[in-house]
Symmetry: C2
Subunit: 334 residues, 2 copies
Amino acid sequence: MSNIYEIAKKVGLSPSTVARALSGRGYCSEESRKKVLEAAKEVNYSPTHAAKTLKSKRTNKILFCIPDIYNPFYFGMIKGANDVLEKYGYYTLLCYTKHNIEEELKMIEALREKYGDGMIFVSFNFCEKNISAVNASKMPVVLTNRYDSPRGEDYFDYVYIDTYKGVQLATRHLVDQGHRKIAFIGGNLEEQTSFERYSGWKDELINSGLDPDDSLVYEGDYTIDSGYACAEKIVKSSNVPTGIVAANDLMAIGFIRYCGDNGIKIPHDFAVAGMDNTDFSSVLKLTSVDMRQEEIGLNAASLLMERVLGGRTYKKTIRIEPRLVVRESSITNK
Amino acid sequence: MSNIYEIAKKVGLSPSTVARALSGRGYCSEESRKKVLEAAKEVNYSPTHAAKTLKSKRTNKILFCIPDIYNPFYFGMIKGANDVLEKYGYYTLLCYTKHNIEEELKMIEALREKYGDGMIFVSFNFCEKNISAVNASKMPVVLTNRYDSPRGEDYFDYVYIDTYKGVQLATRHLVDQGHRKIAFIGGNLEEQTSFERYSGWKDELINSGLDPDDSLVYEGDYTIDSGYACAEKIVKSSNVPTGIVAANDLMAIGFIRYCGDNGIKIPHDFAVAGMDNTDFSSVLKLTSVDMRQEEIGLNAASLLMERVLGGRTYKKTIRIEPRLVVRESSITNK
DNA sequence: TTGAAAGCGCTAACAC
DNA sequence: GTGTTAGCGCTTTCAA
């Protein structure tokens, strides 16, 4: 298309004067500036991102990797981060990684190639593979989960919600409602976050003097459908609980949906608690743990900017407290 | 960090040979190639995106602008597009524009600066402002809505679902169920899509010999909350309908939620139909119009690739037919 | 098969 | 206040 040389020729000035006029940096007379801007408009000029970046080493873009856009949970996080990044003149580009490590690695590679100045990285499965890629990139990265390498040689920050504590809150709440048999619908326990949530359930039952029976643990994949499938298994099992803690709202919704389809009453037959406290949990009157997504995003973006603009190089971490929001789905004795 | 010169020095070859070895294009002996790749690994090399782009004029990235990530509606579209783009080795970067034209213009500007090779552009409000920016960019763009400039000088494609027809399907269905007073919960009628949907309702009532009374039109903003608010207005109005057509599922959900909160029975008191046919509509047994999001995304990506890779320059458009999915919320006489 | 060299379009230090 | 110039890191043509 058009470039500064074309404009320079048009107005009879040198390319550097044109660059100065356009950028606003460096000396340039009012008269020249006016001519340049006019010519730029005429030839429909806009700077080439790649050329700018190659020189300035700045893209003013942040990559935001999320495993799952369909899950309303991430909305708050994105909003929180976006609000901060916008203030610094940064654009947020979302990368949908589909819970897939290959996709994550692709985006880490894009970061490494300096397609963005930094990355906010959400994943359900931080592991040796993606973390070492993050470290190798040597680029500013903030995780939205807890992760510390064994050898403590991490180049990233993290801000995390204490999900372990969150599941404990939900579990304790059901215990307090008088439930003695409380099932847990979680995800793949080999994934870090899933394991944490599972542990919260288990430990809280132990704290309460109850038995965290493994036959009460059901594995879903954080979708409505998997919650639905677990519900069927639970109802038809030989060890039917009275309380249900689901590791996210979608699975809780799936559970409730199965009950609706089969004449089972919530909270009469099952007291149900989910996690994430999305708008949908309020529609369905679902007791849920507020994971304070917006604060996570906000803090993540702030940490990132400290590295990108402030040049901080040491690791910083932030912990955020979850909150329980009680609604009808768990109130048995009313 | 590291570049091809560093590698060249390390292995005692020229930068151009290193470049050939790395890219796989051009001649290079097996031996040299091996040495280069090894050295590259050693110095933790990865190419600089900006430099590559500056030469090659290719980013291998597509920008995907969506007004609202919180709305599950877009999930299918993104998935459909992503599946196609992936096959071509392209990355999809999502840009969340918050229903905000300023954000849209920012992303169009990023495209214009060639931050990506093309753009899929979703908006509820295609207008002179954003369309002329799209045209001015002269970059490959596909809209997911119908839009033709009066003067027919468009540089973009579009693929659209016939929402007008969709609302007609929903409206006709309620008419067929015997309803005579059917309200419409829509969005801001100044937005093109909102107006189309409104027209579908209006025209179908007229086709059915009914009166499209303006007092039966309620304005929301496509959120659950606005559906809830409209429900309250509808219930308390002096002209209470028996059928409700909502311009999307979220507003229908809001409507249903209000009813739930106030002892009003669906479908007994109101027959409700929404649009988008998301997973949530099936949870709530909501009759809804399937907008075939995945096909939209798929077709949009294909059109885009025809321009980006195939060099097509003339305009192409694709129309997709909606489908009505009937569920309990609208079946009055069962 | 390899290397030299000329850019891609912009920035910024430096000289005028 | 303006112009010259030397890159940024890669690609690619052309000559060797």
